[in-house]
């Protein structure tokens, strides 16, 4: 949801589907390199990560590598806190993300049950 809003605020036409299918064009400068780097960072192949890091630095800047690493790392934390504590998503966020969740298949994630058991009407 924040991605869609940040795109609107900066006049970018963002294709959210690329978050699930990263071969699609996402509509943000350096988007392909960012998606490749994020996936490689939490994946098992070091050579793919090293290549993705260089491509991101080349396409955007060395500072972009640090920024992308910081954010990716932060969300590896948040995903573990969320799934480890079994927290639900907030009603306000659920309402705002209804179309996105349906289009991207997010409702099928098994961790969605931590939300739907409290808000079955949002399924």
């Amino acid at each position: 949801m924040f991605l869609r809003e940040s795109g609107r605020a900066t006049d970018l036409k963002i294709n959210l589907e690329a978050l699930i299918k990263p071969t699609l064009e996402i509509g943000v400068p350096g988007g392909k390199e960012i998606l490749n780097f994020a996936e490689a960072l939490i994946g098992p192949d070091r050579s793919i990560l090293d290549k993705a890091r260089l491509e991101l630095a080349d396409k955007l800047s060395p500072a972009a590598v640090s920024a992308a690493s910081a954010i990716a790392a932060n969300f590896t934390k948040n995903d573990r806190i969320a799934n480890g504590c079994g927290i639900p998503s907030e009603p306000k966020m659920l309402k705002a993300s209804k179309d996105i969740r349906a289009n991207l298949g997010l409702n099928d994630y098994r961790s969605a049950e931590n939300t739907f058991k409290h808000f079955p009407e949002e399924r």
Partner: protein, 239 residues
């Protein structure tokens, strides 16, 4: 001391100092774990990530490990480290059945999450894992917030104001806080450290609803959200 002095990529000094502080703090007694227990959790995180190819090789001493964790703790650490998308409610109920209490469980979730965060950052900028500290003496504080109760998360949490009272005010301030902030609140220090990382690595929480707010040099908010969205998709995190 600069923690990431060997990085070829620029690291903001606030991020550097917070990682240095939080790594050091793993070697001190927490709310429910001794320093030895907390370091054993950290070592198990690194061993599990290394063995599955998700992280670089830890130092030899960290590979050998320290004290042996109880099986219940070890299972939580390994599953949450390696595969957060497979961490479902039975992982929590099994941990309780096998002897962990909620307070211990929440501290473990906090340590696994924060250390994974710091280690993934190091991997991202291409530097080796930072060494874990030595264990300090001392006993856990055993500080359980009396107001924490079962809400919608699996684990008890400190409610928002007004129900959460002074404990909520001290931890959350005046405003309403979502579950991603409150999830670890059974161990208040874990919330403080989680938010500290959030503020330097993602963006200061007070700016979260400004859609074009840019926190990172050379990286727009939209670019940040691509990273966040892709990581959460890969981890199948719904929240």
């Amino acid at each position: 001391m600069v923690l990431y002095a060997d990085s070829n990529y620029p690291v903001h000094k606030d991020l550097d100092s917070i990682h240095a502080k939080q790594l050091d703090q793993l070697g001190r007694p927490g709310a429910w774990g001794t320093a030895d227990q907390r370091l054993a959790i950290a070592q198990e995180v690194r061993q599990a990530a290394y063995k599955t190819g998700l992280q670089e090789r830890p130092k030899e001493a960290e590979l050998k490990g320290g004290i042996k964790l109880p099986d219940a703790a070890s299972k939580v650490v390994q599953k949450l480290t390696i595969s957060p998308k497979d961490f479902l409610e039975d992982s929590y109920t099994d941990a309780k059945k096998d002897g962990l209490n909620d307070e211990e469980y929440v501290e473990i979730v906090g340590i696994v999450s924060r250390l994974t965060c710091m280690d993934v950052f190091a991997r991202g900028i291409g530097v080796p894992l930072r060494p874990l500290p030595k264990a300090s003496e001392g006993q856990p504080s055993r500080n359980r917030p009396a107001v924490a109760k079962k809400e919608m998360a699996w684990v008890p949490t400190i409610p928002n104001l007004p129900e959460g009272g002074d404990a909520a005010k001290a931890l959350y301030g005046e405003g309403y806080k979502t579950y991603i902030v409150r999830g670890l609140s059974l161990v208040p220090d874990e919330v403080r450290m989680h938010i500290e990382l959030e503020n330097v690595q993602y963006l200061p929480m007070k700016h979260i609803f400004i859609p074009d707010y840019q926190h990172h040099e050379g990286f727009t908010r939209a670019q940040c959200e691509i990273v966040a969205g892709r990581i959460s998709a890969l981890n199948e995190c719904f929240f």
